[in-house]
């Protein structure tokens, strides 16, 4: 199990009643892994020495207007969080606004989870984000609809434990063991890291058994072979016209 497609789903539900300290503040960024609310993990996500992560999908609850929330008999049965999500690697935020300042990221309107025919995601994390060994990574959410003030002003008195207040979904590929080392090697010779490229390079290493695989010659042949494979794939998928000279 050295290459695994992984996912993580964060959600926050009501708890029959309402204790403000149990819910996030509006306009403040929290981690989906260690932020203190909803489903959590035990420690910060540090990529181990023999791991390599390719992050390619993030999405969160859609909806903007707080008027679309539903209260029945004082119980909040539907909440629109108006949320955005940001990816943070070590101390660097992935999303910036057009004036080059850290932003709260992509909204659930652009990348909805779950997505429906009324909310088909426009946003894809392409190119993917590589998270290297010894880096920490995090997904941080911000609610822009204020649950606590709504409670303080009497909009609702409790939240049903079946009411989802917000959801985030993350999908990534985890390479570990020898595949992580192959991923790093591909990165060092300028080949994109994907499931396909790692498996292809592994085959190439097996074919080269007994030969020196650390020489310029080997890397040059590998880089050329990768380019030929990619061109062949592009021709087969119609992305590149066939040329009899190639």
């Amino acid at each position: 199990m050295a290459i695994r497609r992984q996912m993580y789903e964060w959600d926050l539900y009501g708890a029959d009643g309402f204790v403000p300290a149990d819910f996030p503040d509006a306009g403040v960024e929290y981690s989906i892994f260690t932020g203190g609310f909803g489903t959590l993990v035990n420690e910060v996500n540090l990529v181990k020495e023999d791991e390599f992560i390719v992050l390619d999908k993030i999405a969160c609850s859609p909806g903007v207007s707080p008027q679309e929330s539903v209260v029945a008999g004082g119980v909040l049965t539907k909440w629109v969080p108006n949320m955005q999500i940001q990816v943070v690697i070590d101390t660097t935020g992935y999303y910036r606004d057009p004036q080059n300042i850290y932003s709260s990221g992509v909204s659930g309107m652009a990348s909805a989870y779950p997505s429906t025919l009324e909310e088909i995601p426009y946003y894809e994390l392409s190119p993917s984000i590589y998270i290297l060994p010894h880096q920490t990574w995090d997904i941080r959410y911000t609610f822009y609809n204020d649950l606590k003030t709504a409670f303080a002003e009497g909009y609702f008195t409790s939240i049903a434990d079946t009411t989802a207040l917000g959801r985030v979904w993350v999908s990534y590929t985890l390479f570990d063991g020898t595949d992580a080392f192959i991923a790093q090697k591909l990165l060092s010779i300028g080949i994109p890291v994907s499931v396909d490229s790692v498996q292809w390079f592994r085959k190439l290493l097996i074919k080269s058994r007994g030969l020196d695989t650390e020489s310029f010659d080997f890397y040059l042949k590998a880089a050329k072979a990768y380019r030929e494979n990619e061109d062949q794939k592009a021709i087969l998928t119609g992305l590149k016209p066939y040329s009899p000279k190639e």
Partner: protein
């Protein structure tokens, strides 16, 4: 993280009494929201237009940045979006006159809103629009018919005006590669940036195989 897929989303929903929120979306609460009215045929800049969520300064690229705008979407159907770079407008009539731009009937936000699906621009603008270092860019939205102010329970996602732009921000060393690609006439895409970098690595590897008389007897390693 030098080639990054970025987004900006503008909306005209704000707390009652406010018309603009600077640098981040406004914090909203039930029964205290409204949408700002947009008069017909009056363009509003989504970055610095003074309505909805705005930023402090116009979007201007630094010396080491490139932007490739590859998708734009708007809502409602009667709202049109026009991209500008410096003083030029992207969308124009066949006679060369700039138009109000592309409407929510073609590129609804979110895709599928009110049953309208973006089929024609599903892969975005093709070819995409390049913004070069030091250039200023932005997006103006123009209502083709007046959009009224909505208050109370009428402030639904259906009645909020949106403009969404998705772009590739290329900076640092990749901006140098991007400049080279434009110089040699390649399309500026993440795939081509990657391909060009692969070429550079291969050429260096090839250089490593060149004749080195005095070291010929030594084993060459990377």
């Amino acid at each position: 993280m030098s080639v990054r897929r970025q987004v900006y989303e503008w909306r005209n929903i704000l707390p009652v009494g406010q018309t603009v929120s600077l640098n981040k979306p406004p914090i909203l609460k039930p029964n205290n929201v409204h949408t700002v009215a947009l008069p017909a045929n009056q363009p509003v800049d989504i970055f610095i237009g003074g309505i909805g969520n705005n930023i402090d300064i116009p979007a201007k690229l630094t010396a080491t940045q490139f932007v490739v705008i590859d998708a734009i979407a708007v809502w409602p159907e009667s709202l049109a979006a026009q991209i500008y770079v410096e003083t030029s407008r992207y969308f124009q009539d066949p006679d060369g006159t700039p138009t109000e731009g592309i409407t929510g009937r073609i590129v609804p936000f979110p895709n599928g809103h009110n049953g309208i699906i973006n089929w024609d621009y599903i892969t975005g603008l093709n070819p995409p629009l390049y913004i070069l270092p030091h250039q200023t860019w932005g997006i103006e939205v123009t209502p083709l018919e007046a959009i009224p102010e909505y208050t109370g329970n009428d402030v639904t996602d259906e009645n909020i005006s949106f403009c969404f732009v998705k772009y590739l921000l290329i900076d640092g060393a990749d901006a140098l590669v991007a400049k080279k690609l434009i110089d040699i006439g390649w399309e500026l895409t993440p795939e081509n940036i990657q391909r060009y970098k692969e070429d550079i690595v291969r050429f260096h590897l090839r250089a490593g195989l060149s004749e080195m008389d005095e070291l010929e007897g030594l084993e060459r390693r990377v």
